[in-house]
């Protein structure tokens, strides 16, 4: 494993901590009714976002999933504007038009989280192709869950990326479940085997350890920038909370208690936190706490959009269709 400076360890820890506290506060806001529609919390899986994004340049691109807050924050999105987006406010990243599953910030290379499982894979490949043509050295990362590996479009995209040697990282967050369905019940063969079938270097790493993820991501990013084409990284991880916050009320049971205890026993926050001195850790915790406090205050005090503007931005050209109200 790479030897990192104390500052680099602190940065990784800060990202993990920020995502953790952001998600915990967001869950509270869901319970309070300030976030409508709920969220897919990524608590437990922070190391993947933190490790991968630490290997990226500011101008690199990512696409994400329904469980995407961590990726977006790790890529540098302002927690205030992410939370405002979750709360549907005009100050949100997407001006309240996207919500939890669609956060995008094009100035930061965040081409959008996506609510359709697997749909971001070809988009990432296309963006990577454009970057390759421009010769600007940018790479593009596609985050996806274990559920996506059985989507045809993802397999088609692996083929395209390998065929055209595109600078793409396919990052699979294998948290063992697609909603309630286990990987054992869903995936024939292996996840890395899917990459290997297309000649894509594919590895499995400990997705609870940000440094292990960073190591693998650096190797893959270096290869991509050097023209060596795509890589696939399977990050084995565990989601600490529910698939979606509706479970907090519905209480569906599909994960055995002992599995949950075991899964939670390896916590990325502790794994990375143990690499900092107590003083440093407390300092970062305090910083993050005030960031998140500010984000909540900002989100809740931001204006709601005007219903008159519901179809703003529908067309980039400003086209307006006919109203539906009988006028």
């Amino acid at each position: 494993m790479a030897l990192l400076s104390a500052a680099a360890h602190a940065d990784l820890y800060r990202t993990v901590r920020l995502i953790r506290r952001f998600e915990e506060r967001a869950v509270e806001l869901v319970r309070a009714g300030d976030i409508v529609g709920g969220i897919h919390p990524c608590t437990g899986q922070e190391a993947v976002a933190a490790g991968v994004c630490a290997a990226l340049r500011a101008d690199d691109m990512i696409t994400s999933t329904h469980r995407g807050h961590g990726h977006v924050l790790a890529k540098g999105a302002d927690p205030k504007r992410v939370l405002a987006e979750l709360a549907g406010r005009t100050t949100g990243l997407n001006r309240g038009r996207g919500g939890s599953m669609h956060a995008a910030d094009f100035r930061l290379g965040i081409l959008g989280a996506n609510a359709i499982v697997g749909a971001n894979a070809p988009i990432t490949a296309g963006a990577a192709w454009a970057a390759k043509r421009a010769g600007d050295g940018r790479v593009a990362v596609s985050f996806f869950g274990d559920g996506a590996v059985n989507q045809g479009v993802l397999l088609e995209s692996l083929n395209l990326a390998a065929l055209w040697r595109l600078p793409v990282l396919f990052v699979c967050e294998n948290n063992g479940y697609a909603t309630t369905l286990t990987v054992a019940d869903a995936v024939a063969g292996t996840i890395t085997g899917r990459g290997e079938a297309f000649g894509i270097p594919s590895t499995t790493v400990d997705g609870m350890d940000p440094v292990a993820v960073l190591d693998a991501a650096r190797t893959a990013v270096d290869r991509a920038r050097a023209g060596g084409g795509p890589s696939l990284i399977e990050c084995v991880t565990y989601r600490f909370d529910v698939h979606h916050t509706w479970e907090h009320r519905a209480r569906v049971r599909y994960r055995p208690d002992d599995e949950i205890v075991k899964g939670r026993s390896r916590d990325p926050l502790e794994i990375q936190g143990s690499r900092l001195s107590d003083v440093d850790r407390e300092r970062v915790d305090a910083e993050v706490e005030s960031l998140v406090d500010d984000a909540v205050a900002f989100a809740l005090s931001s204006p709601h959009p005007d219903p008159e503007d519901a179809l703003d931005h529908l067309y980039a050209t400003g086209l307006r269709g006919r109203p539906g109200d009988g006028r």
Binding site: F106, G112, G126, N159
Partner: protein, 322 residues
């Protein structure tokens, strides 16, 4: 003046836009060899990086175009079969079309989806003969169905330059149409603006795509009995309602001929709008494919589900009598 075929017009539009804007590129199946003829000569002029042969992966290459567009390119995808749009419906309607609104206007997705040979191709049967433009109109995706070579040129150019996704249906029934035209007069045709091909005072016939030519023939045929105006919307979404309103104000009567299934088709939308907004002196009529038609293989059956000139003439006479 030189002849311009519809196919050649598509080819010329692609070539001109590739030459004009380095962000434009073409991708699809067998586009380098130009099996459909629409991309003929482009590989030699622009090279393999701008004329991309893709694997048979419609979902991936359609999503790929979205990603390339998000990163600053202007992709044009050629689809070999109209039904391939069903495979890529998710990538067009649920992804490309929704990015602008859902990102709060941060980005645009200027992709053109070109289907040369839409509708019946005589002898290709049910899975190759659909005309699903109303699906895209329903979803709000900009959709054009050019009838003539000069409009095919002008609408493809506008589609490529437009910052939103645009689907271009080039009906199989129009691909062999040729016009005698001065190439210097070829120009972009704005989206959403219809065209009156023939003026008349008794009835407006709205004809879509290749059926414009049938409507003109029927108008000629009926010249002794009635003065028929032929209105070609050219773009089915956004539809030129003002243009049509102007025509119907002159004629007071309306017939729509649309080579697509009846329920929820463009013809249905035109009639609904006429009921809401137009002052008609007789009930309107529409001639379409039957409800839920699957185009059967045998030539006589294939023709039986497509609108024909007799049906149109009958509908016009009926509307004039009422």
């Amino acid at each position: 003046m030189p002849w311009l075929s519809y196919r050649k017009a598509l080819n010329r539009a692609l070539g001109d836009e590739l030459a004009r804007d380095p962000a434009v590129f073409v991708l699809g199946e067998d586009v380098r060899v130009a099996v459909s003829n629409v991309t003929a000569g482009l590989l030699g002029r622009f090279g393999p990086e701008r004329v991309l042969d893709t694997p048979l992966s419609e979902q991936a290459f359609t999503g790929f175009a979205t990603g390339a567009a998000l990163a600053g390119m202007r992709p044009v995808i050629e689809f070999q079969i109209p039904a391939l749009l069903f495979l890529a419906f998710e990538q067009i309607v649920n992804q490309a079309h929704k990015f602008s609104l859902m990102t709060g206007g941060q980005t645009a997705v200027p992709v053109t989806y070109l289907v040369p040979g839409s509708g019946s191709r005589a002898g290709w049967a049910g899975q190759h003969s659909d005309h699903p433009y109303a699906l895209f109109a329903h979803a709000g995706v900009k959709t054009v169905v050019p009838a003539t070579p000069e409009d095919a040129y002008g609408l493809v150019v506008s589609a490529i330059r437009d910052d939103d996704p645009v689907v271009v249906f080039a009906p199989a029934g129009a691909l062999d149409v040729r016009v005698d035209v001065d190439f210097a007069t070829l120009a972009p045709v704005p989206l959403g603006v219809g065209r009156v091909h023939r003026e008349g005072s008794d009835v407006t016939v709205v004809a879509i795509g290749h059926l414009v030519h049938d409507a003109l023939a029927v108008a000629d045929e009926l010249a002794g009995e009635a003065s028929v105006e032929v209105f070609d919307p050219r773009t089915v979404y956004p539809f030129d309602w003002d243009g049509l309103a102007g025509s119907v104000r002159r004629t007071g009567r309306l017939v729509v001929v649309d080579d697509a299934n009846r329920t929820c088709g463009i013809a249905a939308e035109v009639l609904a709008t006429a009921a809401e907004r137009f002052d008609l002196s007789a009930p309107p009529a529409r001639v379409t494919r039957p409800d839920g038609a699957v185009v059967p293989f045998a030539p006589a059956l294939d023709r039986a589900v497509q609108p024909d000139r007799d049906q149109l003439a009958t509908a016009i006479r009926k509307v004039l009598k009422d």
